[in-house]
Symmetry: C2
Subunit: 486 residues, 2 copies
């Protein structure tokens, strides 16, 4: 304890936060301490020691190596260790039986060859993806035990007792670990996966809502810029980075005893699939967020025209995400019909607004008429006028552009004389300046924003499929209307 006090402040804070962020870590640490103390008693207490002897050390080692944070992790490692030891023991005895010929040198060569072949084969097998995922540790322990027994057999005659003792003590160690992690404040991988899936769904829902609100009310954005930016970023970042964590949890959860009503198996792999669908969904959210940070912004006046429909669509998407989160949490099916209806109504609404305000996008009407558009089609007077206007604007833009390009080559020559810091400060702004100075059709980013919203609905479908499949596989309850209101 006094050790902590000696650390400098930041270090002390880090250590404190590790426990504060997740108090289960403190509990786990105490559990490991307790397990180690208990297993040490095998050695320290006279009557126990008489039964087991020196080999009690193997039990201590097993506890140190096998105890994992979650029950699934411990089970996976423990069973792998047990199985690996058992298999290696059997094989080693079999090979020893084969090699039971007189002649020390022949014996040594035989052992060497067996060690080489098994070592290479086991290492190679560990590269197979399926083995790597589920049995990596087991294969390592197999190799370890096999070598231990087969090499010992060269000098020791009672190898049988070495093997037996090793298996006994490993069983004691694994058993103790399992008791500690399954029955004393257990942390279930499955539960963690379940919760993280729910929180990811809810995080994305929040992220979309905040993004859209910020897009249309950017006055508030100026005020609490950092906090809400951070919120959006954090929510989708958690989803984007979840791949390896999800997969590990799903594998560990597969080792855990399944607890569920009616003894149905909980399809943990399906949770990982939901996670994958969510990740793909979240790429669209990232792109949507990108619209907020874009250098060119559509004027408020244009945005305001479509504000309500966009916000409505975003809210419907969030609602669907939340409904799925609730569905997983309460393990009942979600009401597909109502949600889809609302979503489609919102889509129609947005479409209607876009069509009734054709200032933004006239292309749709051109497309609808189905006549192939060539530059020769007679133009309306207005279109001519616009084109003239834009030509004038274009030339203005081009002259605007010259200055950044000019300043750039100047800057480059400066860079060559005085490299480093200064260069770094100036350069990043460049293409931003140019993008802004071009004043790309200001409606463009808004069109992208709207299109991404629509795209999002399409991708949401895939997520809904996976969640539905999850519901089917884990036999969720039928949807009841009153559940939805809670």
């Amino acid at each position: 304890v006094y050790k902590v006090k000696r650390f400098p402040g930041s270090m002390r804070k880090t250590i404190w936060n590790v426990g504060k962020d997740d108090p289960r870590r403190v509990v786990h640490s105490l559990k490991v301490g307790l397990a180690l103390t208990l297993v040490s008693l095998l050695y320290l207490m006279e009557p126990l020691f008489k039964g087991i002897g020196e080999n009690a050390m193997w039990a201590v080692m097993t506890v140190v190596v096998v105890m994992e944070f979650t029950a699934g992790g411990t089970l996976c490692k423990g069973l792998n260790r047990g199985l690996g030891t058992l298999l290696a023991g059997s094989l080693a005895f079999f090979i020893r039986y084969l090699a039971d010929v007189p002649g020390q040198i022949f014996h040594a060569i035989f052992i060497g060859a067996a060690v080489f072949i098994l070592g290479a084969a086991a290492t190679y097998v560990r590269f197979i993806p399926y083995i790597k995922k589920n049995y990596d540790y087991g294969v390592m322990i197999f190799l370890l035990t096999f070598n231990l027994i087969i090499v010992s057999s060269y000098r020791v005659d009672n190898v049988w007792s070495i093997g037996k003792d090793r298996i006994y003590t490993i069983c004691i160690g694994v058993g103790l670990c399992l008791v500690m992690s399954l029955f004393v404040f257990p942390n279930w991988s499955g539960e963690e996966l379940h919760k993280s899936t729910i929180s990811k769904l809810e995080g994305l829902a929040k992220s979309i809502e905040v993004s859209v609100m910020e897009y249309f009310y950017d006055s508030e954005k100026q005020a609490n810029d950092d906090s809400s930016e951070d919120l959006i970023y954090k929510c989708y970042e958690a989803v984007l980075d979840s791949k390896s964590k999800d997969e590990t949890l799903a594998i560990q959860a597969n080792w855990e005893p399944r607890y569920s009503r009616c003894c149905h198996r909980i399809p943990w792999q399906q949770y990982a699939k939901v996670g994958a669908a969510l990740r793909h969904f979240s790429y669209t959210v990232v792109a949507l967020h990108g619209c907020l940070q874009s250098e060119i912004q559509t004027p408020r006046s244009i945005r305001d025209l479509y504000k309500d429909s966009c916000i409505r669509l975003a809210q419907e998407v969030s609602k669907v995400l939340r409904a799925m989160a609730n569905s997983i949490r309460k393990k009942h099916k979600f009401s597909l019909q109502i949600l889809s209806n609302n979503l489609n109504e919102a889509l129609q609404d947005l479409d209607g607004v876009l069509k009734s305000q054709p200032q933004l996008l006239l292309g749709s009407n051109n497309g609808r008429s189905r006549t192939p558009r060539t530059p020769k089609t007679p133009r309306t007077p207005n279109s001519y006028k616009l084109e003239e206007e834009s030509r004038i604007l274009l030339s203005r833009v081009k002259s605007d552009c010259c200055s950044p390009v000019g300043s750039k080559s100047k800057e480059h020559s400066r860079e060559q004389t005085k490299e480093g810091q200064r260069h770094k400060v100036l350069r990043p702004q460049l293409s931003k300046i140019i993008i802004t100075s071009l004043e790309f059709s200001e409606a463009l980013p808004f069109a992208a924003f709207t299109s991404l919203l629509v795209e999002m609905v399409a991708k949401l479908d895939h997520v809904m499929d996976e969640v539905e499949e999850l519901g089917r596989m884990s036999h969720f309850k039928e949807f009841r209307d009153d559940d939805d209101n809670n």
Copy 2:
């Protein structure tokens, strides 16, 4: 070898492919086999055995546990193991010295308490992110050795020799592993990170090019649909999933002896940062790819108007990515000026085309005039005509919509009577039908496509910054023109 033949065909193929995909795996397997055989000689050969004795087993164990695929991985584990053992040994002797009091029971209690406190503390420390990343294995070995020595000290008097032997044998094991992985066909983590960064840059460049080409020439898309889709997907998927692999490689590479001209340290962490910037860039690529798969497609006639500029911009972006890949490969700086000029010209070109063909987007002109747009502004006759047109279209769309919605509620009732398979086949199409039937302004997805291209340029800036920083940190050669032509 005969074992392989017994496996069923698919299994055999999997095993074969593991080696075919990366022949270094076969080499690594043989290396491990060889190392194990060598270390077994310590036990098998009479003169060596006399020096070391039973404890040779620890060396065998060390080899099994420490040998990793890359040199960095082996160094990291080996040094962690060595350091952990050394530290644990010192601490155990210190504590043993403290506890050197008469009275067996007091001694046992003291040992138990030490085991508990150290066990809990070490487990807790492993949760600290910095420790977890770099020293996780070391802390585990520390705990293992500490327990081993302190518990043994209860019954064995010459603990000193236990500790000494363990340290010796571990040093032999680690030394052998290091020799094998540093000098015999070494696989460097750093090199792998270097190569994977280059291939990621090139993959993204290809992915963008193919996406854009497919978007504008979708006739060819029909022909070799799967292959090019797969290509795009594979290229960016590799970038998206690279997070954990990159970080592991960067950490391992940090342990490797740095090799570089002029003894500069190679900033591996900066490679990981480039990877992070690339990941963020690739989210835009995913969104761009989403435009290809979108249910609503802009008519060819409209797309063709902007084809050349878009393709040019995409090619410039790809060119920048390839230039960065080349820059990293050949370790020279890249020619910022030429690339930026080309990129900006392409941007201006696209902007020019968009402005000269205002059929797609009129909003820009509204925005430019700076007069606040209200519905009361006098409209041009053309605009009135269009609005009328769109109203008619809207009503048509609405009547179109009724049928899918109708069929949906029908479908829902069917679902309730006959759940499962059938339901799964029908449902996923639904919102697609609705999105398509709404015929959202067909220009919308094209606008999104263009906007994403522009967005991409903005994000490319960030990648360029990181690559430039990488060049600065690892003292790349100055750019020479002839390098660029190779």
